[in-house]
């Protein structure tokens, strides 16, 4: 048992913390208010290797481990949760599957420019009528000569409004259910690909999401990722890793709420004393700190398992479930500590609370995580 950070992990933490403090935190409130996509910050993340943290340098990434990725995600999300999810989609949901399932030719075209941050990818699984139950998808891909022709609609696609390439899942054989799903890499300039206006969201408003449409959208066969029918497996294994990213994002959001609550509690006076001297406030802060640490350990544990190449689905689900629900509790307490001010835009507490809410929904709702965990338990 060794829970100490390596030198490299420590360096990543310090580097990301500094970047977050200087470039993200001062702007996060404005980006939230204006629904502004932080193009410049994303470009810098790319330069720092943070859009492909675990991608080997030969494919444009930083070549670090998943623990380093989780640390980076926490620190970036601590500054701006919207920027955090832009980063996590690039790392977990786009670069990771292209690295794992792509051919070298595909990696050259679809990975290197994305891991280095020159281009942006996204992951399109969810549809208007199929979220948690991905096997119910309606989007079709029909083989036609050297091409596949895609038709259908995908929903809530994070990075969708800005993406250069979409990793999309479509049915190539409906009769085979989830075994009839295939993954494709579709460049956004492909004819027949269009996108709707960005969604108006409760939080993580610096990131964009939208519906995307495929209408007789023909892509060459070299755009197929993995084999026909392998799409569901690709999606599920990708989401296992994604859950580590979202757990780390939730951690970062919770930490922002917690650190600001601590600072406020020391300054704000009531009944003649700083409110930090009252047990009512102290106990909230103690619970926030404890739950954040529990979530971080669950997250890092899942990350180390991923790096060892052993199964980590249940562990990633536990990390994501606990961290996301923890973040909602902690950010709510953050508002409570701030009192009336916490309900206004004068402080960031309200934004953290709004930002936290999505972490219980995307990349598998809390309910899906509990299904993953209980299935693993009952199977053993």
């Amino acid at each position: 048992m060794d829970i100490q950070l390596t030198d490299e992990q420590r360096q990543v933490r310090d580097l990301c913390r500094e970047f977050s403090e200087q470039e993200l935190r001062p702007n996060a409130r404005r980006w939230d208010e204006e629904h502004h996509f932080p193009r410049e910050a994303v470009r810098k993340l790319g330069e720092m290797g943070l859009m492909g943290v675990a991608v080997p340098p030969e494919w444009g990434g930083a070549g670090m481990d998943t623990v380093a990725y989780a640390i980076a995600m926490e620190e970036i999300s601590r500054g701006c949760a919207g920027t955090g999810v832009i980063m996590s989609v690039s790392n977990s949901l786009y670069c990771d599957p292209v690295l794992k399932f792509g051919t070298d030719e595909q990696r050259r075209e679809f990975l290197t420019p994305f891991a280095s941050g020159d281009k942006l990818g996204c992951f399109a699984l969810t549809e208007p009528m199929s979220g948690s139950d991905a096997a119910e998808m309606r989007t079709l891909a029909v083989a036609h000569g050297d091409e596949y022709v895609l038709s259908g609609t995908k929903n809530f696609i994070t990075n969708g409004p800005q993406a250069d390439v979409v990793l999309v899942f479509a049915m190539t054989d409906r009769a085979r259910g989830h075994k009839g799903i295939t993954a494709f890499l579709v460049p956004a300039e492909t004819k027949g690909f269009t996108r709707a206006k960005p969604d108006q969201k409760v939080g993580i408003r610096a990131s964009g999401s939208c519906s995307i449409f495929f209408e007789d959208c023909a892509v060459p066969k070299r755009c197929r990722l993995g084999q026909e029918g392998e799409g569901f497996k690709i999606a599920m294994s990708t989401l296992d890793g994604g859950r580590i990213g979202i757990a780390a994002q939730a951690l970062g959001i919770a930490r922002a709420a917690y650190e600001e609550a601590v600072a406020y509690a020391k300054e704000r006076k009531a009944f003649g004393k700083p409110i930090a001297t009252f047990q009512a406030i102290q106990f909230m802060v103690a619970d926030m700190a404890t739950e954040i640490d529990a979530a971080r350990l669950l997250t890092w544990r899942a990350a180390t398992l991923k790096d060892k190449g052993v199964r980590f689905s249940a562990e990633a689900a536990m990390a994501k479930l606990y961290a996301s629900e923890m973040a909602e509790r902690v950010t709510s307490k953050g508002i409570q500590v701030h009192g009336g001010y916490g309900y206004t835009k004068e402080f960031d507490a309200e934004r953290h609370w709004r930002d936290s809410r999505i972490t219980e929904i995307y990349e598998g709702t809390s309910e899906i995580q509990r299904i993953v965990i209980s299935s693993a338990l009952l199977k053993d």
Binding site: K266, Q279, Q282, T290, A294, L298, R370, L377
Partner: protein, 379 residues
């Protein structure tokens, strides 16, 4: 960073799990019903080295470190929390004497505690009127001749009637606050040490809890543990380690509750299905498992820091707070999953439910843990 256990740690788990299954668990129900102290189980723990896991080998201990200790505690607690608390206090006392005792004290006490020659150690800090606030203690230590005389009452003393040696805290200087407290080693049979009533407890009934009184109890100067006036600091250090132990107990309690619930959820049918197939039950199991893993990780994290010689006060409090409260949730869910049967002694979960309740109270209530954590983070 690597959450895998070392070979030694993994061996301790294997040993402790076998001991828990074969020796501890089979008599747990009987111990609960009769409230009888399980002497033969304690001797088996001693043979396995589990009464002094983190005491140096030179003093008869296993010298296996705090992480191994937490792992062993978890396994024994999963078998029976009453035995775990008995084991925990003896370990705490042995460690304390190894750390703060003179060579003579350590060489006399530690091997006897480790081997089971003394069935237990006891830790006498709480008083009828001073629990969370030990500095309010009124037990007095007065200088007489070249030694000391103790007078006062102690309360909730685990193994107080079974212990070969008790660490007793008393006030040597009434005006000096926390600096006026000294720890003493009092051996069983010392004149003036009087064992009072046995508490009738709702859980961990096979552990012995007594009150003690000290009536003109004369001690030589060599009975002082550490330095005069250092007692409060010694108690706090011991409690930090003790909290890792309770974190481990909570983790063990959750595991026992989860394993019993899993068995039942697979067997029991309702509406034509095993009840584990219903989300209502499956989601409870998922939450128990997540709480278990978080408790375990927080506990092992604190133990790992302790093993490295780093500060671990805050982390130990977090582990204790989280695991003990998570245990309440888990044992309650276990009763719920068992339905009516869970409320009877046909299944062990009602015992788990009662046994776990004390974990948010002893070795610092949840409220004290939150104070410790908050003071640290708001500093």
């Amino acid at each position: 960073m690597d959450f895998e256990l070392t070979d030694v740690e993994a061996q301790v788990v294997t040993m402790a799990r076998a001991l828990g299954r074969e020796v501890v668990a089979p008599v747990a129900r009987d111990g609960d019903r009769t409230g009888r102290f399980p002497e033969e189980v304690v001797r088996a723990l001693a043979s396995a080295g589990f009464l002094a896991v983190n005491v140096p080998e030179a003093l008869g201990g296993a010298g296996a470190g705090p992480v191994a200790y937490a792992l062993a505690m978890t396994e024994i607690a999963a078998a029976d929390c009453a035995v775990a608390v008995t084991m925990g206090v003896t370990n705490m006392v042995g460690e304390l004497i190894a750390r703060y005792g003179t060579p003579e004290q350590a060489e006399r006490c530690c091997p006897r505690l480790a081997s089971g020659e003394w069935l237990a150690g006891a830790f006498a800090l709480s008083e009828p009127g001073a629990g969370s606030d030990p500095a309010a203690m009124t037990t007095r230590a007065t200088r007489r001749g070249g030694g000391w005389v103790l007078n006062g009452q102690k309360q909730w003393i685990t193994s107080g009637d079974r212990a070969g040696v008790l660490v007793v805290w008393a006030r040597d200087d009434p005006g000096a606050g926390t600096k006026g407290i000294t720890a003493f080693l009092v051996e069983a049979g010392t004149p003036g040490l009087v064992v009072g009533r046995h508490e009738e407890k709702m859980g961990i009934r096979a552990s012995s809890t007594v009150s003690l009184s000290f009536e003109e109890c004369e001690l030589p100067d060599s009975a002082v543990l550490g330095r005069v006036g250092e007692g409060f600091r010694i108690a706090m250090w011991a409690l930090d380690g003790g909290r890792i132990g309770i974190g481990a107990q909570g983790t063990g309690a959750i595991r026992a509750a989860l394993e019993a619930s899993l068995r039942y959820a697979r067997d029991r049918k309702a509406f034509g299905h095993a009840i584990g197939e219903f989300q209502a039950i499956g989601f409870m199991l998922a939450d128990m498992k997540t709480d278990h893993d978080a408790s375990r990780l927080l506990t092992l994290r604190a133990a790992e820091l302790k093993g490295r010689g780093l500060a671990f006060t805050r982390e130990a409090s977090m582990a204790k707070l989280f695991a003990s409260e998570a245990a309440q949730r888990a044992v309650s869910k276990a009763v719920q999953i068992h339905g009516g049967y869970g409320y009877t002694d046909e299944f062990p979960v009602e015992r788990y439910f009662r046994d776990a309740r004390v974990q948010t109270i002893y070795e610092g209530t949840s409220e004290v843990q939150r104070l410790v954590i908050a003071r640290d983070v708001l500093r």
